[in-house]
Symmetry: C2
Subunit: 273 residues, 2 copies
């Protein structure tokens, strides 16, 4: 029995997987390798083929526009804007530098989450046999380049305070483990605690939140359907008979998981002014 | 590369799995073994432990009440009732006997789908480490008994007409394959085609439909949280390191898949008067 779902982090990756992680970050222009990708990397042979199968489609302007469209829809419609957390953080001794560091990390997360929703949606549709028909003629953009890598707290060695915050977030969202985003925010446990109290708990898994998550999913699907052709066969290459089921389920789950986290982090960023 | 997610059907099961399938049907009182269970059975060793881990909790009156509560919420709120399909079926030569056979199959599906949502929700929560705390003192009901087994069309040998209907339903729902329910309805391709045209396509994956699916999920979670204790460790026993991720993803997916199918089949039954 494993206690935790296995993943392969950048520092644990062999040379080939490390190069794939770096290429993925540079192609999408994102500051971390998503939890979904780190878990999918544990299925022998799948990630290299699947990444090669979608990489060209994600290199065109329409992919960037898809991520932008998701990002633009990620505020919870019908819910009041979150309160500012700045006064409470100031009371806890936060100075401008610390506030700016947290804002910078959130900006990086908010840039990347919609990209990962597009990537995982492309894989999820392809593994179910529904790759985009292929809008031909689009040419690739210049490589987007990898921003600096975000620091994450490792759940295996987190403090009891952070572990309790991770568990609380999991119960609140009905998630199976802490997303990369929560591991990044855990560098500031007081911010993470306040964000759960004031910004997230009042809305997460309520009807308006779930309706917003649904909108992101629908938006991502529509945009992915209009991308250049994806190599569906490459995404469906598996080594063991059970892997097709496993990957279908995991992609379905992470697609929805990323919708939630996308909403959360934009909301937390709004609360930092 | 597999073309299709593997599953083990009753007639393919060895003696031990066949006995488990029969016990599952008799314990819940349902007329088929769910697609989710047939796929989960392909993960060596998992289903026997996981079924033993939830069986006592599903034998109490509160489990039946949970299924009843799900069933009572499964009509799409805010959508008009579906039109009657009876005149169009009569035009196609349907007599009372055929109508009653289809109604009987739908009644059996509508009895069982909420049970499977409760079962898969119990597993999904447990594998994520959130088993019910355990409402003690409840005693098991008498075994509910297995109704006659429903006949399903095998997708591997379906007619081109039925294959096209299965694919259409998959695209419409964003599902990875035809549920048991669709395989049952496929015994009457003209009914399945009319149901897609008139009853399902106007609502499936729209905002009101997705909000109803969300209500079923929330209802099932709340009811499961109030059941007697589940053996979480038994549900988390896996043989291979990747299986914990695989099963977490699959349970997450089938939980939502069953919500959709529950709504669909009650709507189709309503259209048969």
């Amino acid at each position: 029995m494993s206690d935790r779902i296995e993943e392969i982090r950048r520092e644990e990756a062999d040379a080939a997987l490390g190069a794939l992680y770096d290429d993925l970050r540079a192609t999408l222009g994102v500051g971390w390798v998503a939890y979904a990708c780190r878990v999918l990397a544990t299925f022998d042979g799948w990630l290299p083929a699947a990444w090669a199968g979608v990489r060209p489609a994600l290199s065109v302007p329409a992919a960037r526009e898809a991520a932008d469209a998701v990002r633009a829809r990620a505020r919870v419609a019908g819910a009041p804007a979150p309160p500012s957390l700045v006064p409470a953080l100031r009371e806890r001794g936060w100075d401008d530098a610390r506030l700016d560091a947290a804002r910078g990390a959130l900006d990086a997360l908010n840039h990347g989450n919609p990209w990962y929703l597009v990537l995982v949606t492309a894989w999820a549709e392809a593994i179910q046999g529904r790759g985009p028909a292929g809008a031909d003629g689009a040419t690739s953009e210049a490589p987007r380049g990898a921003p600096p890598e975000l620091f994450m707290v490792d759940p295996a060695s987190a403090s009891p305070e952070v572990t309790a915050l991770f568990e609380r977030s999991g119960r609140l969202h009905f998630h199976h483990g802490p997303s990369s985003d929560y591991r990044v925010l855990a560098a500031w446990p007081d911010l993470l605690g306040l964000a759960l109290d004031e910004v997230l708990e009042p809305v997460v898994r309520g009807p308006a939140y779930d309706a917003t998550a649904r909108e992101l999913l629908v938006c991502a699907r529509e945009r992915v359907a209009a991308l250049p052709a994806i190599d569906v066969a490459a995404v469906r290459v598996v080594e063991r008979p059970t892997d097709l089921a496993a990957l279908t389920g995991l992609l379905f789950m992470y697609q929805r998981f990323i919708c939630d986290v996308t909403i959360d982090m934009i909301r937390v960023r709004d609360a930092l002014g």
